[in-house]
Symmetry: C2
Subunit: 431 residues, 2 copies
């Protein structure tokens, strides 16, 4: 088909009529589908049901070192969980703290702690006039939600296929002491599925921030969440690179098993330098006597080791790979060559980033919603829910069953075409 | 035996020699016993092992309303957990939020949130010059640890057998806007095992604080932790009483299953008014997508309802009642009538509060430690670890096996007698 921009006003009018008819057909189907959140689907959750059996009433709930996981104690996690999660995060177990079920909670607490007590002896952020933060865009709405909640001024930084625009990052952090952090999803980024290039990671490790309490919030949420067996992204490990670069304390690295076992009952972790760990422990000892050790033990007994976890992730990939491929194929077939949209084709993670024509995202999402397909709200991928181009849409293909997903992707394509054609038609008429 | 104070210097000298000999005998036993923390013992933990079987790989991990507990969502806890914990706390399930495994964490977060964002629209505490807190003494060291960590000035308030000195509480909160809270363990208090009288609860509900953001931190840690089947303490339910008194937003009430199921893997909760709940939810939505729902479901399936939990607590009581009674009996036999110590005889909870002669606690604890019996460090029951009388010692009888506990209590009695006799002897000589 002809690119929409090359169509005459008459051709556009005809196209719009055809699309409206098609849209009405979807309306009549009374769909109820959800492509809004990066949730594992039912089949994925079933993969981890074996975890419910590894600790029974006849099991010994003691650690290798004899600690009774049922009782109080062990701030920071049991040793064998640190080893497993250390392997998962590619970090020394000694540098890992194990938390509760939510890495978002770990990140929130990290910022809250910096706000109330400061980072490694520096002024608590609540005593500063201004705290700023770098936000690669499009990015993760819940990240932006935390910094917004703390009244931190968020500065968008464009995401490139290699990661955040590092020229801009370097210049900003070097020149402004109020900038205290940056949100990063370095591997299979949310929402693009981009993985930071070696150069990007190297430059991150060599940042020279004006603020001594600047930290990179390295949310490695999709570290082992590959879609393909062989075509996988490998990242330079950031803590090791920071150490080599002489900046050992520059990074907090986050991860969880939420999309490995159960989002509702996984374990989260933080890896960082010994100095940062000491700083965190000083606070953490007042906050809790220790997180759920039984669930930590449950994870260890289920996976045994990182090989077990890797094999497990292949099963996840087998379930969600066809979903990503189906959506991409439907976009190709329905939107390819029309010049009205572009989208990413990730090799891992949970999202596809979709860019509509400027000024169309909100309307597309509204139209899809009206026809029963829920998308992440327009603007969500930008700080303050404000996408200045009104173009980015996060597509989450994992949750719906495959056939539903195909229907949703087709309807979504119709919405994209209809809104775009109408927009071009209006523009043509005004000329 | 004669009261020590009535002994002559010579009698004291003879007594000291005999006690030294006895102490040396304990030294040679190379004991390694722990009466320092309120930890359930092995047999108590075994009571809940059935909880490890109620969710197996063949179980349906869905709530009554169809929510899949394995997946994301449900901020504030699943309905059936709210019902169970609501019954446990004597509160409407609608007024309950379920958290992770630690009520200490809930309290910490509550203060942290007040510090960073303020309570119901009031000025965040970090923007105030001064925040003060009332601390009934002797009290719980981890409570004091939180307020100290936030730089909050702690004001000791004497604990009476009826609860905190309410004349003092009423006067202080009414006159000083900087006072933002009070720590309370209203039932089987830590460390005395006192339960607040009806009058105390009524007066709490009718406080007229100068600060609009003053809250009572009502840590009902031992709400159902009775030692006896029939001789139990009942408290006026504080939220209901506050509502009746026209002060619905005055209280945050905390509880957990740490000493019901597993300290290392229980669930914690907060109950409070709809206004406070809304205030908390506004924050909580940025901190987490939801706490561990699988563990919530596990608790519900195990207990079924509050009757199941009540029966379960009787089994706990059967295990720890003999321990409390043994300690009290040994204290009676060894220290009764000597006029050098007093102690409480609680009907529930986890502690006995022991008061030695002024200026003796630290030395007693050191002596016990040297002989291999670990007690909570002297001063722990006071803010800033500063017991001005150096007399209070928290005794935790639950953790050691009964025979070990008896040995520890006997040794402890020897230490008390020896230190007291020496103190009196020195004083007599100086006269």
């Amino acid at each position: 088909m002809k690119a929409y921009k090359e169509m005459t006003t008459e051709e556009l009018a005809t196209e719009i009529e055809a699309l409206k008819k098609e849209y009405r057909r979807y309306l009549s189907m009374e769909l109820q589908l959800d492509m809004s959140r990066g949730k594992p689907c039912f089949d994925q959750l079933d993969l981890s049901m074996g975890m419910m059996d590894v600790l029974s009433s006849s099991a010994d709930l003691s650690c290798e070192d004899g600690t009774d996981c049922r009782n109080y104690g062990v701030l920071g996690g049991i040793r064998e969980a640190k080893v497993l999660i250390g392997d998962m995060m590619e970090n020394n177990p000694d540098n890992v703290l194990i938390y509760g079920n939510s890495s978002l909670n770990v990140m929130y607490d990290q910022i809250s702690r910096s706000y109330t007590h400061g980072v490694m002896g520096n002024t608590p952020w609540c005593k500063l006039d201004k705290v700023k933060w770098l936000c690669p865009v499009p990015g993760y709405d819940r990240h932006f939600g935390i910094t917004e909640y703390f009244g931190i001024e968020m500065i968008p930084v464009p995401m490139l296929p290699t990661g955040p625009d590092m020229d801009m990052v370097e210049e900003l952090v070097a020149s402004d002491e109020a900038i205290k952090g940056i949100w990063c999803v370095p591997k299979y980024s949310n929402p693009q599925g981009y993985s930071y290039s070696d150069e990007t990671v190297r430059r991150f490790a060599r940042l020279k921030p004006a603020a001594r309490d600047f930290r990179i919030y390295w949310d490695n949420a999709y570290g082992i969440h590959h879609l393909y067996d062989h075509d996988q992204d490998y990242l330079i490990e950031i803590l090791a690179e920071c150490k080599r670069a002489g900046n050992p304390d520059l990074v907090y690295k986050f991860a969880s098993t939420s999309k490995i076992t159960f989002p509702g009952g996984g374990i989260a972790a933080l890896a960082t330098s010994p100095n940062n760990l000491e700083d965190i422990r000083r606070q953490l000892q007042h906050q809790t006597i220790g997180y759920d050790k039984i669930n930590q033990l449950r994870h260890v007994r289920f996976f045994k080791d990182i090989h077990g976890m890797t094999e497990h992730m292949r099963k996840h990939a087998d379930i969600i790979r066809p979903k990503f491929e189906a959506v991409e194929q439907i976009f190709d077939e329905n939107l390819g060559g029309l010049g009205i949209a572009s989208w990413t084709t990730p090799k891992g993670g949970y999202f596809i980033s979709f860019d509509a024509m400027e000024g169309c995202a909100k309307e597309i999402i509204d139209k899809a919603k009206k026809a029963g397909v829920k998308m992440t709200p327009a603007g969500s991928t930008w700080p303050y829910h404000n996408d200045p181009h009104d173009s980015n849409i996060r597509v989450a293909p994992t949750y719906p069953p495959l056939e539903d997903l195909k229907t949703a992707a087709k309807l979504f394509s119709v919405c994209v075409k209809l809104v775009s054609a109408q927009k071009l038609y209006e523009a043509a008429k005004e000329q």
